[in-house]
């Protein structure tokens, strides 16, 4: 797959279709892959990588890259194409300046899960028939592939590319995913249990903004949290309120726009399951206003900029579920 991608990228560079390629760059170790812009065949040859760790959603870079001169080639996994569609819909990217090659999606691996097994000093990770052979300084370790899958891949919503100019490999389908299971589990807890759950999680927050800065829906020219005039600007999670405030407002701002790419939780240095907040909104929207998946298309009206005369009242929150 990696070879095919490199070759096709080289072709498109050579024939002048594109001037740059967005993909992933090899790191120091087996897993520390960095999104990168490649400008030459040589760079592609030496650094381009596509493997079980290339999980980063590179669509957000298109905000910057598609505004530049010349067309840019981007490799997008199915989940990433939803993000691009949403960015297109919100006029944040210039789709005409982007050449999308759809590539197969995950499941991708989560190095944190491997490390959580106590495996350290990792030198290489090989997938042999869905068993990971991990070479370490302390000898070889093995673990099942399935136990090291990124959370976002374990609850994948779709293998379908919703936008592309060409595909490498077969296109898949929208999946009947289990992604709302955890949200539902929380919904079925008591308010006190939910409160305790979220306090434990959100109290870990160090307000590093990684979730916001990686989020393809968070492309504001100036974020309210960086704007002293917004009334919610803050830098430090110095009180439980600020953590709550930050995450509630952020989730609300991306409600109806979040494509559920799962990057927020993937990059959180404190492993806070932030995607659950976004999924809660998606689940509510689906249940209350009809199924809607942001990024599925570029024309439909987003649930929060739309309404029907017989929408449910806010009191529905009081009426349903466990108190």
């Amino acid at each position: 797959m990696q070879e095919t991608m490199i070759n096709r990228a080289k072709q498109l560079l050579a024939d002048g279709t594109v001037t740059r390629v967005i993909g992933w760059k090899r790191g120091e170790f087996a897993y520390d892959i960095t999104p990168a812009v490649f400008e030459s065949a040589e760079e592609l040859e030496s650094d381009f990588v596509f493997d079980d760790f290339t999980s980063a959603n590179v669509s957000k870079y298109l905000v910057k890259e598609s505004a530049k001169e010349g067309k840019v080639l981007v490799f997008l996994k199915p989940c990433d194409t939803y993000s691009l569609n949403q960015l297109t819909k919100e006029h944040r990217v210039n789709r005409d300046n982007i050449y999308v090659i759809g590539i197969p999606g995950g499941p991708k691996l989560d190095i944190e899960k491997i490390k959580a097994k106590g495996i350290s000093g990792i030198l290489s990770v090989r997938n042999e028939d869905y068993t990971l052979k991990i070479e370490t300084i302390y000898g070889e370790e093995t673990m099942p592939f399935s136990e090291a899958i990124l959370d976002k891949c374990a609850s994948c919503k779709s293998k379908k590319h919703v936008t592309y100019d060409e595909l490498i490999g077969e296109d898949g389908d929208v999946l009947d995913s289990n992604r709302f299971d955890m949200v539902e589990k929380l919904e079925n807890m008591t308010a006190q249990e939910r409160y305790d759950f979220w306090r434990e999680q959100l109290s870990k927050c160090i307000r590093c903004n990684a979730c916001r800065n990686v989020c393809p829906a968070c492309t504001c020219e100036k974020c309210v949290f960086d704007n002293p005039n917004s009334g919610v600007e803050n830098k430090a999670a110095s009180d439980s309120f600020e953590e709550n405030m930050f995450h509630i407002i952020r989730a609300f701002h991306v409600a109806g726009r979040c494509t559920d790419c799962g990057e927020c939780s993937r990059v959180c240095p404190q492993n806070i399951p932030l995607h659950l907040l976004n999924r809660k909104f998606i689940k509510d929207i689906n249940e209350l206003y009809g199924a809607y998946q942001a990024g599925e298309d570029t024309t439909s009206k987003a649930p929060l900029t739309n309404y029907t005369f017989d929408d449910c009242e806010a009191s529905i929150v009081h009426e349903r579920g466990v108190e």
Partner: protein, 663 residues
């Protein structure tokens, strides 16, 4: 540094009885920025206002807080007073300590405490008030009326009468609309054509009225007072300026088998046609779907017989652009299609007709020259069954949930006319309810029952089955007698529900006006602003807003005209300065705000920005038209970056109030 004056009103004892006004004035005097804090018996009185004015001048105040009655009462009074003293009127805030404090609380201590808090919130807000200046925008002295039925004609006549130019855009080759197809009108039974056609002629002869027949609106830009509209004049292949309407071409046209839409397809017309004798403009139109010349270049008869050379087979659609100050929508209605009503055999028997078809069958200018004959065998019908509410008041998806309003009356009219002209014909009317609210309406209906012996039966027709003998077997229930009825009828007339014209929905989008779920235009207020749309400068006339009969339509048409005239009389409009504005530096151009704006006040422009690295970048940013924005603030919440804010109710002002209240 702010210099704020606080003025606490006693309102006689209205406030002073439950709120210690002196204590309020004293407490608010300690608030940051407050340089003067006074109380007075009646702040709204002339001497009270003078107190405020003098304080503004004496202390050179930058903001004023009046603790008094509701701002809905006297906000304007105090704004004017401030303006008179040289302070921008929007630097005045009212703390409502009467309706929302003294009048609802009894305990002086807690009421006083609350009054202080409300005053404090107003002080906190006024700190952040900015002087606002109401903008003005000029008004183009021309109106557009979309739709040339009786509603559009009446509106245009009234506007023209007031001395303004007005254009009528009508999609059909002639104006006149549905009323032109109607035979007689209720409750007076006078002839529709006799009262309509003079108005049509009047419209065509009024030099202020410009009729664009066979035309459509394709684009609307701009805002109240300043709309730019593109009108498509569809090719009719006849030069309107040359055609005299002599009709020779329509006689000679060899293509005579075109269903005549004016007669509801009950007879035929030619490929080149004038819809009816009194059409305005009386100009022929070639139907390109049937004209042999246009289809395969063989014929050309009309061109040969036309003595003025009006025929132009090469004519193309033309687009014209015009500026208008006001737009009146009068797109009218149509009866619904009855394809889904198999039980009434509408598609199976030509003798099952809609009420509008019956109008044509009975009309002297209709297919039978005014004699009521069965369409199938041209015999005289002896038994006619009318079915009410076909598709109206329906709770399933087949029909419409609303009452079409006009059917009860026109059916009574039909029944009466038939019984009058053909006393040997029996008439049955099956109804759910008979609704006759209107001047002389119920009397009219009772005449049908009592004087003309029309059989009114409460109940629904279950099934109509065409028989081999040409009769229609009608199976129905009589709910009052609680029995099943079987009638062998010669004709069945269906009172089909009416629905807005299909062109209304795309038009509403162009006009950024609201529609309800049934595609009727929504008025700005159901009671108090029935002929205005929520979009400033767009008015509603006739059935496009909801089912209406002719008198109601005409009344509303004149009302819409009056509203339009009121607007056109002004040289410019003063805009509400409490409108939204977008900070271009923060705007993402994402269109969220545009999607929630009920007025179409937000557009996008590409703007060049200097970037931090000293390059320039062109970015799409929102721009609010202050003349169109009504200041609801929906956009401010839709905006994720907070670029959109509202004058007079800014994010920081509201949060300052929250802070002050929660202090």
């Amino acid at each position: 540094m702010q210099r704020i004056g606080v003025f606490v009103c006693h309102c006689g004892t209205n406030i002073a009885a439950t709120v210690d006004v002196k204590a309020v004035a004293e407490a608010l005097g300690h608030e940051p920025g407050v340089v003067v804090s006074q109380d007075y018996q009646y702040m709204c009185s002339e001497s009270g206002q003078n107190l405020v004015k003098n304080a503004i001048k004496e202390h050179n105040l930058t903001g004023v807080v009046i603790c008094s009655c509701s701002p809905r009462m006297h906000e304007n009074t105090f704004r004017k007073a401030a303006a008179a003293a040289g302070l921008n009127p929007y630097l005045v805030e009212i703390a409502n300590i009467r309706e929302q404090c003294s009048w609802i609380h009894k305990d002086i201590a807690t009421a006083t405490e609350k009054a202080v808090i409300l005053g404090r919130a107003a002080v906190a807000k006024v700190h952040l008030n900015a002087p606002l200046i109401a903008g003005e925008s000029p008004v183009a002295k021309r109106a557009l009326v979309i739709g040339g039925g009786i509603a559009g004609i009446q509106t245009a006549l009234d506007i023209a009468e007031a001395g303004f130019d007005v254009d009528i855009v009508e999609k059909n080759p002639t104006i006149g609309g549905k009323m032109a197809q109607i035979d007689k009108t209720f409750p007076t039974l006078d002839c529709a054509a006799c009262i309509l056609t003079p108005k049509m002629v009047e419209a065509s002869q009024n030099e202020k009225i410009h009729i664009h027949s066979f035309s459509e609106v394709t684009d609307v830009k701009g805002f109240v007072g300043n709309f730019t509209v593109t009108i498509k004049k569809k090719a009719r292949f006849v030069d309107e300026t040359k055609c005299t309407g002599c009709g020779l071409c329509t006689e000679k046209c060899p293509m005579k088998k075109v269903p005549n839409e004016f007669n509801m397809g009950l007879d035929n017309r030619t490929a080149i046609y004038i819809p009816f004798a009194q059409a305005v403009p009386k100009v022929a139109t070639i139907d390109p779907n049937y004209c042999m010349m246009l289809k395969n270049g063989k014929c050309g008869v009309c061109s040969k017989v036309c003595s003025v050379g009006a025929i132009d087979y090469k004519q193309e659609d033309r687009f014209i652009e015009e500026k208008y100050g006001a737009i009146v929508v009068a797109t009218g209605f149509n009866p619904i299609k009855l394809d889904k009503y198999d039980e009434f055999a509408y598609n199976q028997s030509p003798d099952v007709v809609t009420s509008l078809e019956l109008e044509r069958l009975m009309n002297a200018a209709g297919p039978n020259g005014g004699t009521l004959l069965r369409p199938s065998d041209k015999t005289h019908p002896h038994k006619i069954v009318f079915v009410q509410c076909v598709g109206s008041r329906c709770d399933d998806s087949k029909g419409k949930p609303y009452c079409s309003k006009i059917c009860c009356m026109y059916t009574a009219k039909h029944a009466m006319l038939i019984r009058e002209k053909y006393p040997d014909t029996e008439v049955y009317v099956f109804y759910i309810d008979v609704r006759t609210p209107g001047k002389n309406f119920d009397e009219f209906y009772r005449r049908a029952v009592e004087q003309y012996n029309v059989h009114y039966i409460k109940g629904m027709v279950g099934k109509v089955t065409p028989q081999s003998n040409g009769k229609l077997h009608v199976q129905a229930s009589d709910l009052l007698a609680n029995e099943q009825l079987h009638i062998d009828a010669d004709m069945v007339v269906l009172a089909a529900a009416i629905e807005p014209d299909k062109t209304a929905r795309p038009l509403a989008t162009m006009l950024t006006t609201q529609m309800d779920t049934n595609d009727f235009f929504t008025e700005a207020h159901p009671k108090l602003r029935p002929v205005e749309s929520a979009t400033a400068g767009i008015f509603l006339s006739g059935a496009c807003q909801g089912p209406k009969d002719i008198p109601e339509t005409v009344a509303q048409a004149s009302a819409a005209a009056a509203k339009a005239i009121g607007l056109l009389c002004k040289n410019s409009i003063t805009c509400n300065p409490c409108v939204a504005h977008s900070d271009e530096l923060m705007c993402n151009g994402c269109s969220s705000c545009e999607k929630v704006c009920p007025y179409g006040a937000i557009t996008y422009i590409d703007k060049e920005f200097r970037m931090p690295d000293r390059t320039t970048k062109v970015r799409r940013v929102a721009s609010v038209n202050p003349a169109v924005c009504q200041g609801c603030g929906a956009c401010t919440v839709a905006c994720p970056s907070g670029a959109m804010d509202l004058n007079g109710f800014s994010n920081s002002q509201i949060m300052a109030e929250v802070d002050a209240i929660c202090k």
